[in-house]
């Protein structure tokens, strides 16, 4: 699908999907569609963001999101600066505010930030003039992951409206879940949150989500199973008794999938705890689009970088 040329994109930041309209989300997806082809070229580079400077401010560890943003920016010919807290002045006690202002003083156009604290990208957007992209803020949102998940669903299923999507696992601590919920419900999908009650806040219903505690009852009726990583580092409060029990009750394995629709899609934002939330045969099986998600992440992030940068001419990308 090609982007609607009449649609005027006005956002200078991407802080979350909650505040985007269905039309804006669709516009990002359509723009990502038009960028997909670049990654298949021999020379995977266009001059769209030439002369622009992008900084990767990853204050929380990340592999795929950070690399994906770096590659996406480089494919658009932006200069990319990496920043990591352990080698930065943050480790010397400098505040994020001062660090951000100093970075901006070097002429940054786009700041991509990942942080453990919800709302940090919003704070950053108040401090600096550059565009801010949220690459994950605590348990709040991970908009580009939500977008690439939805993009992948749309690519595989041809639609979002009417899809039934199970989001399985640690909803409470998951920014991926929240961005998926905002995006999917705005585009007309039905979302079912599945997991133990300790990991599903009841108030999630207010976002238009159903709650289920029995994965086996949900599997036959859904088109997509989006499996969240069990955040073992959160387990100090004992949200479930053992990893083994979690795997028994909610782990997606081939036995469970026998009751699923034939064309069910298995998704996972990674990194995977193999044998816990998903068995290896399912992760690598025919229903899995996990690596496809990673590939699509590039196009989606290129689209987001392009849109927030305020680049007026879509043809430059061509």
């Amino acid at each position: 699908m090609t982007p609607d040329k009449k649609f005027v994109w006005t956002q200078t930041h991407l802080l979350g999907l909650e505040n985007l309209s269905a039309q804006e989300i669709t516009h990002i997806l359509d723009t990502a569609e038009s960028f997909k082809e670049i990654s298949t070229r021999n020379i995977k580079k266009v001059p769209t963001l030439r002369g622009k400077v992008v900084v990767n401010m990853f204050v929380e560890p990340s592999t795929r999101t950070r690399m994906s943003f770096s590659l996406a920016a480089k494919r658009l010919s932006a200069d990319v600066v990496d920043f990591s807290p352990s080698t930065s002045s943050l480790s010397k006690g400098e505040t994020l505010k001062d660090t951000a202002r100093n970075i901006e003083a070097m002429g940054i156009d786009i700041a991509i930030i990942r942080h453990t604290a919800p709302g940090t990208p919003h704070m950053l957007s108040r401090i600096i003039d550059a565009s801010v992209i949220n690459a994950g803020d605590g348990a709040h949102e991970h908009p580009t992951q939500g977008l690439l998940d939805i993009f992948t669903m749309r690519e595989q299923k041809g639609r979002i409206k009417g899809l039934k999507v199970a989001v399985v696992g640690d909803i409470m601590h998951s920014r991926v879940a929240r961005s998926n919920i905002w995006g999917l419900t705005k585009l007309g999908a039905e979302v079912i949150a599945v997991g133990p009650p300790t990991l599903i806040p009841q108030q999630i219903r207010e976002l238009g989500v159903k709650i289920a505690y029995d994965i086996d009852k949900v599997i036959p009726e859904v088109d997509v199973i989006n499996i969240l990583r069990i955040q073992l580092e959160r387990q100090r409060s004992k949200f479930f008794p053992t990893v083994r029990e979690y795997a028994r009750l909610f782990g997606i394995n081939s036995e469970r999938l026998r009751h699923a629709k034939k064309d069910v899609m298995i998704m996972h934002p990674g990194p995977i705890n193999r044998g816990v939330e998903i068995t290896p045969d399912v992760a690598d099986g025919t229903h899995s689009v996990i690596l496809r998600q990673v590939t699509n992440g590039l196009s989606v992030r290129m689209a987001v970088l392009y849109l927030v940068s305020g680049q007026p001419k879509a043809e430059e990308a061509e």
Binding site: T95, A117, T120, P201, Q203
Partner: protein, 423 residues
């Protein structure tokens, strides 16, 4: 002989059930008379159109001295108090070091005397070093001038310690003031648990964490017949617990802050994670706010206090998770409550004045909050209809962590008199 005549003001003195346009005469720092007489005075204040009340009392503030003088000092805090219309404040002992012995309580009085502004009454720590383990030398603290006991900033975890402190403090007839929250349920929460916290991905502090502790403390107050005061009450159920306890004759009182009476957790979201909405107890829901208003109206809640909690800008201007809890409030309490509660007819001006004068004075057992003949001549003059916009840059407090910046308000304290001196 120094004399002041305040004439033609609407005198509201709930302690003496006075609400009429009349005159107040002050002689040598004491109230000499309240009535139509117009004795000759060295100074005459025309209070026509103004409300004349006993000097207002803010029974719950943090002045940060000793230890965090960059955020506030007793001098700057009392200047802020006067700017807000308060002639007396009671300050919490969560300083560094804590106010947990006679000398430290005396230090507060000494600094307040040096500052020469509002009256300052220290509240002593319930436990040594506020560690929650052993009760402090309450007798010595009392001798040093402590008017109540609290580990505020943190709850008293041990029910046994609460029990003993309620029993022991009966000797001095001073209240145990508890900050009610069950820390096991709070974990590293940063806002009230509910649909907003779930949406924002912030760790929630469940309202039940407050209610459990309010219930526990009330049960212990009943057991001991001790005087219990619930600080900054914030939930609907907690208000109901206090209401029922009062009906049962238990010696419990409660205070509420202006921000819990006017703001909800939605502000965290609509402000895009502005840390000036990060307070403890956290901002709750609309139904809690309504219950707090009802509790104030029917007398379940006795006092309004600011919980003035100054923080340096660099401490608040950080990621939401790591910002400290607390906002300043002495300079906004009166205008915010007048605008949102009195002018909107939730409570009467008489109820408001009672909650800031006779009631806190009674709870703390201090000889303030009245215009009785012979009382200290502490007086506040309020212009009920003055419209203005809150601008924290103009505050006397050292800190600026105010969530009411930009609010259009109606009502302001225009003058205070302390011990017969016009400030």
């Amino acid at each position: 002989m120094t004399t002041i005549l305040i004439k033609n003001g609407r005198v509201i003195d709930p302690a003496n059930k006075i609400d009429k346009v009349t005159n107040v005469f002050i002689e040598n720092g004491k109230i000499k008379s309240v009535g139509p007489k117009t004795p000759k005075a060295n100074k005459t204040i025309d209070a026509k159109g103004l409300i004349v009340t006993p000097g207002l009392i803010d029974m719950h503030v943090h002045l940060r001295e000793p230890g965090k003088e960059d955020e506030e000092t007793i001098a700057s805090g009392t200047a802020a108090a006067i700017n807000g219309g308060f002639t007396s404040v009671a300050c919490m002992p969560n300083t560094d070091p804590a106010i947990d012995n006679e000398a430290s309580a005396e230090f507060v009085y000494l600094q307040a005397k040096r500052a020469g502004k509002a009256n300052v009454f220290p509240i002593g720590a319930v436990t040594k070093g506020r560690k929650g383990e052993e009760i402090s030398e309450m007798g010595q603290l009392f001798r040093g001038g402590a008017v109540g006991f609290s580990d505020d900033g943190a709850p008293i975890k041990s029910a046994e310690v609460v029990r003993r402190s309620l029993e022991y403090s009966k000797m001095f007839d001073k209240p145990i003031i508890d900050h009610c929250e069950d820390m096991d349920l709070i974990r590293d929460g940063t806002m009230s648990e509910g649909s907003v916290s779930v949406t924002l991905g912030l760790v929630g502090m469940p309202p039940v964490s407050e209610e459990i502790m309010v219930y526990r403390d009330i049960a212990l107050a009943k057991l001991t017949d001790g005087k219990l005061h619930i600080a900054h009450i914030s939930t609907k159920r907690a208000v109901e617990l206090v209401r029922q306890a009062k009906k049962g004759g238990i010696k419990v009182t409660a205070e509420v802050t202006p921000h819990h009476l006017t703001l909800t957790d939605d502000y965290v979201k609509t402000s895009d994670f502005n840390t000036n909405y990060k307070v403890n107890p956290p901002l709750r829901t609309k139904s809690d706010v309504e219950a707090l208003k009802a509790g104030l109206k029917d007398g379940t809640i006795d006092a309004i206090a600011s919980d003035h909690a100054p923080h340096a800008e660099e401490e608040k201007d950080v990621e939401y998770n790591v910002a400290p809890f607390g906002i300043i409030g002495m300079e906004t309490l009166l205008p915010v409550v007048l605008t949102e509660l009195v002018h909107k007819k939730v409570i009467t001006i008489n109820q408001l004045v009672a909650s800031l004068t006779v009631n806190p004075a009674r709870i703390l057992g201090i000889p303030k909050g009245t215009l009785s003949v012979g009382a200290d001549a502490d007086v506040t003059l309020i212009d009920l209809n003055k419209e203005w916009v809150i601008d924290p840059a103009k505050f006397k407090s050292k800190s600026r962590n105010c969530p009411f910046a930009g609010w259009k308000v109606k009502g302001k304290a225009v003058s205070v008199i302390i011990a017969g001196h016009v400030i």
